[in-house]
């Protein structure tokens, strides 16, 4: 579903990503871990082309994303993203946040979008917040609304960049639970996180990145219980 080939990204002279190769299949749940500043966010942002890769290719469902003929906005409908800071639209009510894209992209009528939005909000227990503004919600609620906003477009792949890092511990859980539910429903996901316990339970594959390179990848058991590289061992020791 997603192929990343020899991806490189530099900001000015500093190479942030070096020769990244990845192949992700449907229904996989990938967790990316690594020390701060190693390039995890940059990798996700290169995958959905918010950041233009310096070199290499990203193919999504067989389509090369850097191709001039590719309409990246069409691709992004199928490849959602959830941000650390939620990035809800503060001037719009919860319902208007989540129906904005499907309605303005003419993928759904407003009535259908509202119906679908209500149904999804109901499933996560936020039905009564429908007419509230984002700032009237807790962080955990905001992030869950942001996830619903991405789900409204029925993405094939959802990227998460540290979705719980801005949350208090008691709110992390509600977001992580929702993500686990999504995983169970068969959604393909790539998640950057520092929540190692979650990674162990959730991931089908874990990728460890350091200094812009993939150092190790494998099952959670491989990486967490039998780390091969010194760097991963150090990393795991440090976060304990």
């Amino acid at each position: 579903m997603l192929i990343v080939k020899n991806l490189e990204k530099s900001f000015g002279k500093t190479k942030v990503l070096k020769n990244i190769n990845l192949e992700i299949n449907e229904k996989e749940r990938i967790v990316i871990i690594g020390p701060s500043g190693c390039g995890k966010s940059t990798l996700l942002r290169c995958i959905n082309q918010i950041e233009k890769p310096t070199k290499g290719k990203v193919l999504f469902e067989g389509i090369p994303l850097d191709d001039k003929k590719t309409d990246i906005n069409k691709i992004r409908i199928k490849m959602g993203m959830v941000f650390q800071q939620f990035n809800l639209f503060p001037h719009l009510k919860v319902i208007d946040n989540i129906i904005l894209a499907p309605v303005k992209l003419k993928l759904m009528s407003k009535e259908d979008a509202i119906k679908k939005g209500k149904k999804l909000l109901n499933q996560i227990g936020l039905a009564e917040k429908i007419n509230n503004y984002p700032k009237e919600l807790s962080g955990g609620q905001q992030q869950r609304v942001a996830i619903i906003r991405a789900l409204m477009l029925d993405p094939d792949l959802l990227l998460f960049d540290e979705p719980t890092s801005a949350l208090d511990p008691e709110m992390k859980q509600e977001v992580l639970e929702l993500m686990k539910d999504l995983g169970k429903s068969g959604l393909t996901m790539i998640v950057v996180t520092h929540e190692m316990q979650f990674a162990k339970e959730f991931a089908t594959r874990v990728i460890f990145i350091d200094e812009g390179k993939i150092i190790e990848e494998g099952t959670p058991d491989d990486l967490f219980n039998h780390p091969k590289s010194l760097r991963l061992k150090e990393f795991l020791d440090n976060i304990k």
Partner: protein, 228 residues
């Protein structure tokens, strides 16, 4: 009474108040239409520059837009007015008030574009990224996400720019537009007395600009009450 005498001489005698009315009319007409032109130019220039910053496209247009802003901001208004009147429209029969509207509109557009750009840039870039990640294109992101938030910062600054514009129209006197300042000058040249005509002009300017300030304050309060 000296004061009444002077007021009579300045306003009533020979229907001199008509000069002031003509001046007020032209000042308001020029400021109003130049303001509209300025906002239109300003939006276009701001969007060209912002789009270029975000995507690195529209290189030529962006270059032209930058030249325009730099030239307008880097040269005196009075010189721009003279160039437009004496050079560009030198051989064309054209109403001088229209020249004023165009000149001040073009001038104001540069400042307005910077105001709008600052307004757009004041919005967290996560908003644009969130919009992009949902498959929305640049125009839709601007229209539905950025502008509704930026307008809060833009409108008050735009109001201030308009107040500046009202005062700046006085420069039009230089090419012979009978706006408020010129009007008071004409009256003074008839009464051989400057104090009263100029004070009256000043009071009229103050009434206009203070009313505008008041309006901006009300607008600011309204905008801040809007939820977000």
């Amino acid at each position: 009474m000296n004061l009444l005498d002077n007021l009579y001489k300045t306003l009533i005698y020979d229907n001199r108040y008509l000069f002031f009315l003509e001046g007020i009319k032209n000042t308001i007409i020029i400021a109003f239409f130049a303001g509209i032109i300025g906002v239109i130019i300003g939006i276009i220039v701001a969007l060209i520059k912002n789009y270029h910053e975000k995507t690195n496209k529209l290189k030529t247009l962006n270059f032209l837009a930058s030249c325009y802003v730099n030239i307008i901001r880097g040269t005196p208004t009075i010189l721009q007015l003279m160039i437009i009147y004496y050079v560009i429209f030198a051989s064309v029969e054209i109403n001088i008030v229209v020249v004023g509207i165009l000149a001040f509109g073009i001038n104001s557009g540069a400042y307005v574009s910077e105001i709008i750009r600052a307004g757009i840039n004041s919005i967290d870039k996560g908003q644009i990224e969130a919009g992009s990640s949902l498959g929305l294109n640049y125009p839709k992101i601007m229209r539905y996400i950025i502008m509704p938030q930026a307008i809060k910062n833009i409108l008050p600054a735009l109001g201030n720019e308009f107040i500046t514009l009202v005062k700046e129209t006085s420069v039009g006197a230089y090419i012979g537009i009978i706006e408020l300042t010129k009007a008071s000058d004409i009256v003074a040249s008839r009464t051989y007395e400057y104090f009263f005509p100029l004070i009256i002009a000043a009071i009229i300017y103050l009434i206009i600009t203070l009313s505008l300030s008041k309006l901006i304050k009300i607008m600011e309060r309204k905008l801040n009450n809007v939820n977000s």
